[in-house]
Symmetry: C2
Subunit: 209 residues, 2 copies
Amino acid sequence: MTTKIPPGAATSDAESATRERVLLEAARLFRHHGYAATTLREVADAAGIKAGSIYYHFASKEEILGEVLDKGIQIVIDAVRQRVESLPADATWRDRIAAGIEGHLWGMLHHGDFTSANVRIYGQIPTSAKKRHRVVRRAYADYWDRLFESALARGELRQDAGTAVIRLFVIGALNWTVEWYDPKRGSFQDFVRQITAIVFDGILTHDKA
Amino acid sequence: MTTKIPPGAATSDAESATRERVLLEAARLFRHHGYAATTLREVADAAGIKAGSIYYHFASKEEILGEVLDKGIQIVIDAVRQRVESLPADATWRDRIAAGIEGHLWGMLHHGDFTSANVRIYGQIPTSAKKRHRVVRRAYADYWDRLFESALARGELRQDAGTAVIRLFVIGALNWTVEWYDPKRGSFQDFVRQITAIVFDGILTHDKA
DNA sequence: GTCTATAAACTGATAGAC
DNA sequence: GTCTATCAGTTTATAGAC
């Protein structure tokens, strides 16, 4: 509960280098092998310490899981809010949603181990861990629901599909890009342009008068 | 290699009731706990037999995995081909893609344990299993690429995004619906209508002259 | 076809030296 | 802070009875 912070230290508690290293390697291993399949010995090996030493930094395997999951979603939330809230007050909802898409993709693709681990293993973790993590997820879903419902009220969003369906479809599709996006096939900015175009206007051509 | 088939049996080899039961329960457990985290004791318990008995039907845990993965994708392939190929010869590519979307969603959502297991654990399985399964995946991807490239050649598909990006985005988005689709919130046919509308025309409104 | 029994190895977590 | 050593439990797979 009470963690000692060295006087004058600018960092928050819980931020030693090895601690961060353990979280990073855990995220990478959870992503590629799953949560239950990843052993603390593997995590310790990758982090350059022995298995027993992990328990100086974390109380249990599940505590590591919790931090990895939270970090994965927090990175995305921060990137989205930063971009959406730096828009001018008279921005259209289309502009705000576009900013949100770019932020979400940036977070997903630039911290792939944390975000992919989150996407891949959330459905496989103990219910206790799920329950705690659900609060953050719900808050993020609410943020997007507000964007979509405001756009709907302004007549910018299609009305023949539920906003919940739109949110789940779009966020799910954006999340999954971390599983196939290949930076070697083009710039991140061009990727964002393509995805935003598809999300906004669909995959078909439309005759314009 | 040579499996005894009772004379007059209409079924192919490898189709005893308990064998099918083991595959079904394995898919359900792989889906919810991951591959490595699922023990053969759990699978056996769920299937109503003892752990040792599994080895009469399967040579190893990885053989079960292979069959679960193949079945998950084969269900979807069959549903897609059936719908696309029953269309009249003069059908538009829009019609064909719509039929493909409906088939893909039907397969995904009506055999959720096999399809969700496939989506969730593919990134977490041993490379040996991945390598064998990749052949079927590639064939299915090619099928969709042909649909999209034909639509592109006919001017029905948008030209400012790569067909590979379109395929990966759309299939990924459709795959993920199995993680959030709720049959209690509306009929399957209405769900297909909403998803197809979003994929074809996007989430925004478009002024039509 | 299914069972019991067991082998050989691995698991999360703890205790205590340094 | 990190180490070694260890506990108690679990794992896949095999052998052989029925």
